[in-house]
Assembly symmetry: C2
Homo-oligomer: 424 residues x 2
Amino acid sequence: MSKVHLAKGMRDLLPHQMIHRQRVISTIQEVFTRYGFEPMETPAMERIETLTGKYGDEGDKLIFKVLKRGAGEARGECDQALRYDLTVPLARVVAMNPGLPMPFKRSQIQPVWRADRPQRGRFREFYQCDVDTVGAPCGLADAECLAVFHDCMVALGFDRFVIRVNDRRLLAALAAAIGAADRELAMITAIDKLDKIGREGVNGELRKRDFSEAQIAALWGYLDGDPVPGAEEAEETLDEVIGLAHALGVSPERIRRDRTLARGLDYYTGPVFETELIGAGMGSVGGGGRYDGLIGMFSGRQIPAVGISLGLERLFVIMEERGMVPPSTTTTRVWVTVFSDETRDASLAAVTALRAAGIPAQISLTAGKLGKQIKAAHKRGVRFVVVIGPDERAADRLLLKDMHSGDQALLSLDEVIARTASDG
Amino acid sequence: MSKVHLAKGMRDLLPHQMIHRQRVISTIQEVFTRYGFEPMETPAMERIETLTGKYGDEGDKLIFKVLKRGAGEARGECDQALRYDLTVPLARVVAMNPGLPMPFKRSQIQPVWRADRPQRGRFREFYQCDVDTVGAPCGLADAECLAVFHDCMVALGFDRFVIRVNDRRLLAALAAAIGAADRELAMITAIDKLDKIGREGVNGELRKRDFSEAQIAALWGYLDGDPVPGAEEAEETLDEVIGLAHALGVSPERIRRDRTLARGLDYYTGPVFETELIGAGMGSVGGGGRYDGLIGMFSGRQIPAVGISLGLERLFVIMEERGMVPPSTTTTRVWVTVFSDETRDASLAAVTALRAAGIPAQISLTAGKLGKQIKAAHKRGVRFVVVIGPDERAADRLLLKDMHSGDQALLSLDEVIARTASDG
């Protein structure tokens, strides 16, 4: 007997968890489809050079590498790695498929893997839900991203959320304005940590990176609202995107301009977005932005792109905390008991007819007392139980018990099907 | 600019492929649910020792290992590996969760990874669709597996298929009967290749493993139908399972007893099954069986189990060859064009109203001539196109074009929603 453990940072999703997750995922997928994003999947493994150099140095360290099999294995050779996000694989797909009709709008819902230190609620495998529009200039495509964020939150049942927006060009102009154009990424990386480490923490990061006190003071002036010289185009872009988002049904109070929003990833070039649930104390549940340079790293052609990613895992945690999960813990509607060997044929016929009618149904697989069988159904949260004893069998009737209401009735098979088919 | 390649044996699934795949997967999932199998997922990575020693020596060689990050990486250390099938992870889950209500019926649809040599139609990442029943004795649970095979094939639109059944205990008795009880697994491994290498090939394999000509001749006598001494219990089990499958709605001509059916995996202990499409020249599209010892390898407690796995990739290939794919190549129902800057507000209002009604709709994201926009919709296979020029805008009407029939009509927004909402 071997010791039994999960791999580090991994977890199983048991049926009662899956039912909630599948419902959330299909809600999000429905919103993605409504906006005309078409489904796509990419493989779990990519060539290492496809992934490295896209996520910053800290990201590169978290990429899982897969050992070659065969002769290369003994030498510890690796040329493949696990998907780290869904954006870089999209850029590769676009570069490899020049015939894709543009603009190309795709949705993708798949797990990604990161060798982060596991913590409560943070796993090394987690799902991302992304939509991206490739080949459309800045404007309406960006506004659709905000509208998708909005509609997903509403469809999931959240009413208190805000979508923060900023523009990377505004941060670039800001870096130039404080005389730190050469340290723009260092500045962005520091600002990006504001939520976690606060103002003083950011200042410490900036000092470590040789920003002067005068620069730091000027920076906060701009972050708090001073007009940033050279940021006019970025400001106009944000005006346009926010205006279009309103036209797409996003109410103004849902959107907040926030110059401290940086988004850590290297590849953003224009507007950036982040969705936050108010009062959840959770950080963002989704983010994204425009990355007009990334696809060019693969294809040599500059192709503009914008997209967002929803983080499922945080949404699940919050929905569970707030009791927003469906009450059902099973997909089974009816449990057909087996009274005795003599009546088993009738139970088999009943479960087969229920299934043929599309009603999820179980039949007791192990012999046992009727009370124990009913308990098994109840324990799993199955709503309806069917009993067919010798009397019922002789009368061609079934006893249907509704475990929610406690009601029971002697019915024909057709009546049982009609009664259990709907949620009525 | 980096060179752009997929990793070896990997592939992308573009939207036109995904639409077919999602339909097939949801059809299979619906059958699984109808039989009361509840959804479950396990992580992509397992500890190496969880996987090794379960799939035979050849299987072990095909397991992908993942390199440790941090200090272990430089030393080439590995302690995790990628999921190779869905059965061994299930056994681990059952061992780790002694509180699971038994019998435990779960479905699982996830990719697995095998370092096989890539070939046309064979990839190193592919989806498996599994159902398993844990904790039920041989009989009805096994029959349900046959019924699930049957219903999946029917639901997918196949009418010519056969489910072959055999029992590992029958093969064990057969090995004993020819005086090769000590080489049972070698015998099974050879017989398992019959489909690929034919009788002479199997004989060659057996000779390599020191089976005598007399043993080989006796073997074929038994495989062709001679009563096997000591196989009475296995034969009775098969009678019972097939009888119960009939009661669950599987017609007798769909099931064929076949003593040459071996199923290569080490862990089977009782009935084994395989589904084959007649005339597809493809081998099996699914298989499974009873494995009463596997969970005990993890938990120390013997827990009986039976299950099947459907191979999606072969099903897709056959369905594409036979033209069984849905005609639609897009999930978008309506494309709203933008006639000019002056009418854009009306187009934005139209696409927003369509989406709010749950109708998947796109709006042209790039300025361009109307003809080009309509062509873009047509190229993607979108059925309906909406045009709002200055006259339509003034009259508060939309021009709706049905790209299938060629019809067009001037309608109110509500009428457009009603017309495009259903498949009528």
